[in-house]
């Protein structure tokens, strides 16, 4: 049999920090559902297993509650199996009671009980829904004892962490990474980890279909899983379903011309649908610091969103800087004083940073202010 394994849709997630682009990112997450539906049809998969966190919160807005339902409704030939996760646990009068009150069609199945469900004629689906946000027990433990009709493929579906299982201070919602063996599972479909990850050939995290942060999975994926029969090793294929790339990149400045850095950044694929977090470090003369700012402002228009952390770019004004700026007399004295503060390791970082900013401000002001005039 063939099915699609996905997780962590987190519908309703807020992207306020992106301002006017927020709506685009919210809609991208809904579009990912349609991409998964199309992928299932393309792959001839009759079932989509969603391993938790369909919603970002336990109490989404009515609009957010309905939107995934309506997207899935357009794929009536696909059975969508939805498992509550830690973001949307099943609690009385919670999100899933509200979901059921919307009378979803039969091909959208909620897995709200800890039990084995039929997954077509060939497989049994052992579900471990979360009923609270943070569970200390391993909710998949029951699967070890669960009986399923002979000859059927056993597939486990859960949401939690396999990291540090069994050790003190383990993550909440723990899952024994050896559960597939102990429960004789042919495949354990997991959610929670936002990157595609294989714990062993039968245990997989699907990753998110549309990332929401830089530093993790760059592009959203879903897994196409094919199992020949009970005991067979599953074949798992990653497929991109996300619209946006979330890239985190660190660069040093001051060691090479800006042209090279700019070239490297512009070589990134699909810039217009890339959310780039750029972390810069190094030391620059005043003029170059200003030039860097100018280039970053220009580059911002090339990407969907640019987030720059330049807190580690330090000023190192050169004599040429001061000469070019026409600094003399009081201006020179002020610049020297600010430069000394910026370089004073005895001062707090914040104070030094302010001195750098003041120096840049002085430099920029000197460039835009008429330098003529005597000084008495």
């Amino acid at each position: 049999m063939r099915f699609i394994h996905t997780a962590d849709w987190q519908i309703g997630k807020s992207f306020k920090r992106f301002g006017q682009k927020e709506d685009t990112l919210r809609r991208a997450r809904l579009s990912a559902i349609e991409s998964i539906g199309r992928l299932a049809r393309e792959q001839g998969a009759a079932h989509v297993l969603v391993a938790g966190d369909i919603y970002d919160t336990e109490s989404p807005s009515p609009q957010s509650l309905r939107e995934p339902l309506e997207r899935m409704r357009t794929f009536p030939d696909i059975e969508w199996n939805l498992l509550p996760g830690n973001h949307d646990p099943h609690r009385s009068k919670g999100v899933w009671d509200r979901f059921q009150a919307l009378h979803p069609p039969a091909h959208i199945r909620l897995l709200l009980e800890t039990k084995a469900y039929d997954l077509g004629p060939d497989a049994a689906l052992l579900a471990a829904p979360l009923t609270r946000k943070s569970e200390k027990r391993d909710l998949t433990a029951w699967m070890d004892e669960a009986e399923t009709p002979a000859g059927k493929i056993r597939i486990g579906l859960a949401h939690g962490s396999t990291r540090d299982f069994g050790v003190d201070g383990q993550a909440p919602n723990p899952i024994d990474p050896r559960r597939a063996d102990s429960a004789r599972l042919d495949y354990l479909a997991l959610g929670d980890w936002h990157q595609t990850l294989s714990i062993d050939p039968r245990v997989w995290y699907a990753g998110t279909p549309e990332p929401d942060r830089a530093g993790g999975q760059q592009q959203g994926t879903a897994l196409v899983v094919e199992i020949e029969g009970p005991g067979a090793v599953p074949r798992v294929e990653r497929r991109a379903v996300g619209a946006f790339r979330w890239i985190s990149q660190e660069e040093r400045v001051g060691d090479e011309p800006f042209d090279r850095l700019e070239s490297r950044l512009r070589m990134l694929p699909e810039l217009s649908s890339t959310v780039l977090r750029l972390t810069l470090a190094g030391a620059l003369p005043l003029a170059e610091r200003v030039e860097l700012q100018r280039r970053l402002e220009a580059f911002q228009a090339a990407v969907f969103h640019l987030d720059v952390d330049d807190s580690q770019v330090h000023l190192r004004p050169s004599a040429e800087d001061l000469l070019d700026a026409g600094f003399d007399g009081v201006l020179r004295a002020a610049a020297d004083r600010l430069q000394a503060m910026a370089a004073d390791q005895g001062l707090e970082d914040e104070r030094r940073r302010r001195a750098e900013d003041a120096l840049i401000e002085l430099f920029l002001a000197a460039q835009t202010t008429d330098s003529r005039g005597a000084a008495v």
Binding site: S92, A355, A366
Partner: protein, 892 residues
Amino acid sequence: MKITSLSVEGVGKFAEPTVVEGFGPGVNVLSAPNETGKSTLFRALHACLFERHSTKGETVRSLASEGRNLPVTVRVGIELDGVDYSLSKSFLRSPKASLLRDRVEIAQGREADESVWRLLGLEASTGKLDIATFGLLWVAQGDSVHQPAPADEARNTLLAAIEAEIGAVAGDEQARRILQTATEEFSELMTTRGVKKGGPLGVAEAARLRANSALEEAERKLELVDSQIERLQSLSADKERLDDRVAQEELRGRLQEAIERQRELDGAQSKLREIEQSERSARQLAEACGRDRDRLRETAANIDRDRAARAEALARVEPLQAQKSEAERSSEGLAAELAQIEADLDALELRERRLNSLANARKAEDTTGRLQRQREELTAWSERQSLNQRALAANPATREAFREISETAGRLQLVQARLETAAAQVEIRLEPAGLGQVYLQGRPLTESSAQAAVQPLEIRVGELATVRVTPAAGGQKAEAERAELAARLDARLQAIGAADISHARDLRESREALEEEAQEIRTMLGSLGVAQRPPADRMTEITAEIERIARQVEAALAEAQTETLPAMAEIEVDLAAIAEQRTSLRRRQTQLRAEAPRAAAQLRRIETLVSSCQLEMRAIDARLESNLSILPDAERESKLAQVNDTANKAWREHQIQAAALEEQRRKTPSAGEIEAARAETHRLRQEMEAHAQKLRNLDKEIHYLTGAIESAGGDGIGERVEELREQQQQAELEAQRWRNRAATLELLCATLEDCLRQRRESLHAPLHKRLAPFLEDVFPTAGLELGDRLSVQGLRRDPSSVESFDKLSDGTQEQIAVLVRLAMGSLLADQGHPTPIILDDALMFSDDERIGRMFQALQRAGENQQVIVLTCRERTFAALEGHRLSIVCGAG
């Protein structure tokens, strides 16, 4: 540079060639009155040095002499670095310029104009030299009161001088502009009291607080929903547990059993209460019968007791009645005696009053004789005064009038004597034949006559001749005076009714006698008490007083019912006897008043005892009457026997009921058992009710929580919290960004201000150095605070405070402004630009002491450079030592 000469022609009132003479090094003083043309010469000097000879500008046109078609010609001699130059310029008509060095022309026209500027070290291109350095040091009339405000060119010259001492300076103006821009931006973010409301930082902070508040509120709601969900789960489990039907049936059975048991106990309890009621009724009847029997027996005993008590009271009251009569008689005797004493005292008082009236009448009558004598004397003196006053009125020869008459007569005699001494003597010897033929002044002479011709005389000798003798011209004036005096004398004599001076003297003597008599009369009248008023008034008063005394005597006699006034001695004897009788009566009266209360108290005590006995007897009688109506003596025995039988019968009936009650009590369960059964039933009912209530409460709470959770879920509170969390982070970042911006600007401003302050201090040092000796001359121990652009901020006379320049007096402001100019001149001189200082009508507001000190400062400045002072205050500036300049007109 020094000015060595100045001449003009066609300039203002100097249409003719005019020279200013006397220039020399150091201090030069041109003292001349207002309107002399000093300021015109100052402007001509300025134009010659700094205006192009070809200019037709207002500066030059205003110099031209009015109504004269002459060119404006100015010639200035200057000494530069030991070389003499002479610059002459003609403006407006036939303009020309010529520059001589050591009397040899070295340039003409435009070249001459610019050569001078080069020699003076000034730029030739701007054409604005008059507002530059020389504008600082050449102070026009009225400008000396303003502190020097160097224009850009002047600052450049000063700056060059300062740079020569402290090194190059630049960039400060730009720093100031940057500081201003940064300060303006900072002030949009922060104020002295903190973040500026409405500014970008204020808006960001407000947004952050709003976001925080909204997030906290939403998180509270979310937390509430979370706890509500937990609570709902807990309540659902509780309800499931309470819904156990077996347990509820078992409880219901136990309650039914308890109710049956309680019903049985209640029946027994009810029967016991019935028997108790019967026994209580029987007991109450027996007790009532017993009480009736006892009351009747007691009534019989009371009747016997009251009869004995009445007899005893009657025996006590009789002696008390006798005592009461005796006490009443004693009290009445005392009262009668007191009344008699008071009547006697009243009679004594009446007699005493009448005697006093007689005594007063006697005293008054004794004064009547004295008053009558006084009235007679007054009448005599009054009549004499009337006569005296009439005589005085008839004689007006007062001392003043007589003095004037004497003086006038004296002066007339003197004038007459002078006339006679100067006049011709006219002597007419009358011959017998001439008798009746010779007339003098129209009257025939009867004998020879000789007299001085002090007035025109006419002598007619029959029909023969008429001789007129006319006094000399000088005598006419004296004659007029004599006539005037004679007329005045006549008028005054006539005024007092005198025919001549002798008569006047007699009148005067007569009046003096009358005046002495008047004085004597006034003295006498004064002794009679009428010094200030008419004697008639006093006489009227005396008459009234005599009449009043007569009425008083008459009244006293009528009151005393006698016809003659007794002697005062008799009256006094009677008064003494009355006083003695009254003392005796009052002593007895006091004694009786002390006894009266004691007698009254004794009477009241006896009356009380009698009254008490009578009341006691009336009470006994009332009781006897009442008791005998209940138990008359005739029915006494039969009634007592009847109530005794009834009481015995009721007692026996009660004994039967008490035995029945005891029997029922043994059969009935105890109160504790009954109460325990009732409590058990109540407890089981409560338990049933509590269970049902608990279920109802649970349902209610579950229903409420379900609604609340569904409502919150419907509102999307979880999603809202996530949104607000991001908004809050964004607001925090924005606020932080503006806080950073504010901190950056604050640091930049502080740094620039400090650097500017340091720079200003170093820039001011050379000027302060030159200023110090001048300040010491005028304001010892004081210092000046300089600000931007070498402006004077204030005067520091006290180390701890600075007086603002604007708040100083006009005089002090002008003095400081002049001293700063002297210091600037000194600075330029030290740097090789010894420029003359010219002050036109300066130091107008200085007092004598201060101007002396200013002269000292000017002298000090004159040691290094030329100082030219133009003034209209010649006397004041005489003390300023130096070369005296003079204006010589027509010198050509």
